[in-house]
């Protein structure tokens, strides 16, 4: 790691030529977390300013094209990825209003009660400083906020909670075909719970089932921040500014005092605030903290940037004699199987668990497209495959428990971006356990495909999905960066609201938990404002 601090002390920065009017809270990042905190604080009467580096996307900008969808991704050139199992960064990050939320697939799953204390239960990985019961009411609130569809009763593995406000999306042919395989092997499935509308809700239309989740749902059926928390935050009085690149969190005498940023014309500013909230996802947040002070701000634990973790990802494919209509339905999944969610090591083979996201709709191109399912094919063989697969392919994705290690980390390089901030390196290796889990899932996945009647079945490459950790939460300042509410142990008026606070990742997609956790954190901020602001 290099010495990241470019400027001098916070006091010197305070003499910046263009200081902006102080606010109650400045929030960095306008994704789910940033817009949720903005909404809650603005509703509590606070003057809130949200600074976002990317464009001011509107739903009308979400063009139906896998080619155009790439401009929605963030972090380009700001991070390097290395290791035996490198984190896929470019595909995961967002950019602009809505953050990664505008291209995520909206598979929203609750973590199970046993996921929150795997250290205590099994002596493995880390405990969360809160339990399922602490999050349960916020899961319930979140699913009402965005309008979730699903069948809580059919999800036999689901922890207790309110039923979904909307019924499941209709099952498409490729989901129905794959379900045969699960049924034949005695594996239970349920409709996949999704932050996608199956019926009109709060003035938004139901999903058209055309599979444009990745390029951004322009009709607003998918509950991304553009159609949920951002307009509500604005209505409550929060201000959002785009094209703003925050360089550092400023601090004086053990408190955060604001942020230093560069606007879209290259002018440097200081924005003072009573409270600073970093909601810039799991990678930019530790990059900012490490760039904010010698040795990193809020880093007395030395853990800022450490414990980056991801999910193990594996895609299974099958070709079927009948038509699958793989272009129909949501991108993320139609059905869910969590039969192997349990982390109990007594089951043998590996620790942790996985879920199957069944019946993922496909477009021809892009990283998760039909052509990438057979990356070995070229020329006429590729064309023959494309024409066959468009009518007869079905697929499902494994999301599995990842590796939690302090050695998987983000550090700063000497190389700098256009604004002078150090580029970050993300290093990640899976342990043998994650590979053993993928091996087991691969074998089961092929068996399911054949049981479903596939004439050919195969798996894609082992990969990673979702990015968590880097600023983990915990009860003790020596072993964590923030509290269970995201308050940094070192600076009481500096908060973090990203999946970077997750000490472990379970084996479910993290967005639902991120949203619920942020609702809880924002409520804490409003109730205890006088204690730290």
């Amino acid at each position: 790691m290099v010495n990241a601090v470019r400027a001098t002390s916070g006091d010197a920065i305070g003499r910046s030529p263009s200081g902006d009017r102080a606010v109650d809270a400045v929030i960095v990042g306008a994704g789910y977390a940033g817009s949720i905190v903005a909404r809650e604080l603005a509703r509590a009467g606070k003057r809130v300013l949200v600074l976002e580096s990317g464009p001011d996307w509107q739903s009308r900008d979400l063009v139906s094209s896998q080619i155009w969808s790439r401009r929605l991704r963030g972090g380009t050139g700001l991070y390097r990825s290395q290791g035996r199992d490198p984190v896929g960064i470019g595909f995961n990050l967002g950019r602009g209003m809505g953050g990664a939320g505008i291209h995520h697939y909206a598979g929203w799953f609750r973590m199970h009660a046993a996921d929150f204390d795997v250290r205590t239960r099994y002596g493995w990985q880390l405990d969360w400083p809160l339990g399922y019961d602490d999050l349960r009411p916020y899961y319930d609130r979140a699913q009402r906020d965005v309008g979730m569809s699903g069948d809580a009763r059919a999800e036999v593995w689901r922890p207790p909670g309110a039923p979904y406000p909307l019924p499941p999306l209709p099952l498409q042919a490729h989901g129905r075909i794959l379900k045969r395989g699960f049924d034949a092997l005695g594996l239970r499935t349920s409709p996949a719970p999704q932050a996608i509308l199956s019926r009109p809700y709060k003035g938004r239309p139901a999903c058209d089932l055309n599979g444009w989740c990745d390029s951004g749902c322009s009709i607003g059926a998918l509950g991304n921040p553009l159609v949920t928390f951002i307009p509500e935050a604005k209505q409550a009085g929060a201000e959002f500014r785009t094209g703003i690149h925050v360089l550092r969190v400023l601090s004086r005498r053990g408190r955060a005092s604001g942020v230093e940023y560069v606007d879209d014309r290259g002018r440097r500013h200081v924005q003072e605030a009573k409270v600073v909230v970093l909601a810039a996802f799991a990678l930019e947040t530790p990059r900012l903290l490490l760039n904010s002070a010698e040795g990193g701000l809020a880093n007395s634990s030395g853990l800022v940037g450490r414990f980056i973790h991801v999910h193990a990802l594996l895609s299974l494919y099958g070709l079927f004699a009948e038509r699958t209509d793989i272009g129909r339905g949501p991108t993320g999944a139609q059905l869910l199987c969590q039969e192997d969610h349990d982390s109990d090591p007594a089951k043998g083979g590996y620790f942790g668990g996985y879920q199957w996201l069944i019946g993922t709709s496909k477009k021809p191109n892009d990283l998760a497209g039909i052509a990438m399912s057979r990356a070995d094919l070229d020329g006429a063989r590729l064309d023959a495959f494309m024409r066959r697969a468009s009518g007869h392919l079905a697929s499902m994705d494994l999301i599995g428990t990842g590796t939690v290690s302090a050695d998987n980390r983000l550090t700063l390089l000497d190389e700098r971006d256009e604004h002078g901030m150090p580029i970050a390196m993300v290093t990640h290796d899976h342990d043998d356990n994650a590979h053993a889990l993928q091996d087991a899932a691969l074998a089961q996945g092929l068996e399911i495909m054949h049981a479903a009647g596939a004439t050919e079945a195969w798996a894609g490459a082992r990969a990673t999905a979702h990015i968590m950790g880097g600023t983990i939460m915990g009860n003790h300042p020596r072993t964590s960066v923030v509290t269970s509410h995201g308050q940094t142990h070192d600076l009481e008026n500096l908060f973090i609201a990203t999946p970077g606070v997750f000490p472990t990742g379970s084996s479910v997609n993290p967005t639902f938990t991120q949203v619920a956790w942020t609702l809880r954190s924002a409520e804490y901020m409003t109730r205890h404002w006088r204690d730290f602001a």
């Binding site: 009308r60 979400l62 063009v63 139906s64 094209s65 080619i67 155009w68 790439r70 401009r71 991704r73 380009t76 991070y79 390097r80 990825s81 290395q82 290791g83 199992d85 490198p86 984190v87 896929g88 960064i89 470019g90 595909f91 995961n92 950019r95 058209d208 055309n210 599979g211 444009w212 322009s218 009709i219 990802l313 895609s315 272009g327 477009k363 021809p364 191109n365 892009d366 990283l367 998760a368 497209g369 039909i370 052509a371 990438m372 990356a375 070229d378 020329g379 590729l382 064309d383 494309m386 024409r387 697969a389 468009s390 009518g391 894609g460 490459a461 082992r462 990969a463 990673t464 999905a465």
Partner: protein, 186 residues
């Protein structure tokens, strides 16, 4: 472009869903003079690599040349990386990316010369297919970005222009059903 300044670039694995291969951790590639795409103001040498890329993409995905793969690549290389629509951004390869394409094209030419005595664009269709097979098996020296990544990225570009547009959907019998139809393909 081999005579251009070279620099050491940490090459990270092709990550995300596409993590297919472990690449060398440190290689040397030709660095481009700028991120600008070829234009009439650029020397002929700068255009040469686009002809190689075009022929190569057409080998990987027949029709890529006619469907404008060079226009796609060069127009995107001319944009700021944040706005570029190239699939390479998913492989966490650091921008600017023109050097990636140029170095790959140069490596293809060198391999073709070594094998057949002619640059890639001068080789026959059969020779090009042979070269792809040989390079895929790692049986010929390759002095460029990791071959597997180069193939994956350029194959993706070709797939974008052939199959990722409404006409391509129609070709394979997949209804496009846009919510908002793109005004231009890229």
């Amino acid at each position: 472009m081999r005579e251009n300044i070279t620099r050491k670039v940490f090459l990270r694995q092709a990550a995300g869903f596409g993590a297919l291969l472990a690449w060398a951790s440190l290689v040397t590639v030709g660095a481009p003079p700028s991120t600008a795409s070829p234009s009439s103001a650029e020397p002929p040498a700068a255009l040469e690599w686009t002809r190689t890329i075009e022929a190569w993409c057409d080998l990987l995905v027949p029709g890529a040349a006619d469907h404008g793969v060079v226009d796609f690549v060069t127009t995107q290389l001319a944009k700021k990386p944040d706005d570029a629509l190239l699939g390479i951004r998913y492989f966490d390869w650091p921008p600017p990316w023109a050097g990636f394409y140029q170095a790959g094209a140069n490596a293809l030419d060198a391999a073709s010369r070594a094998r057949f005595g002619v640059p890639f664009v001068m080789s026959s269709g059969a020779q090009r297919s042979d070269l792809l097979d040989i390079l895929s098996r790692g049986e010929l020296s390759w002095d460029g970005p990791p071959f597997a990544l180069f193939r994956l990225v350029t194959r993706g570009d070709a797939i974008d222009v052939v199959y990722g547009v409404p006409a391509g959907y129609a070709h394979i019998g997949l209804p496009y059903r846009p919510q908002i139809e793109p005004v231009t393909s890229w």
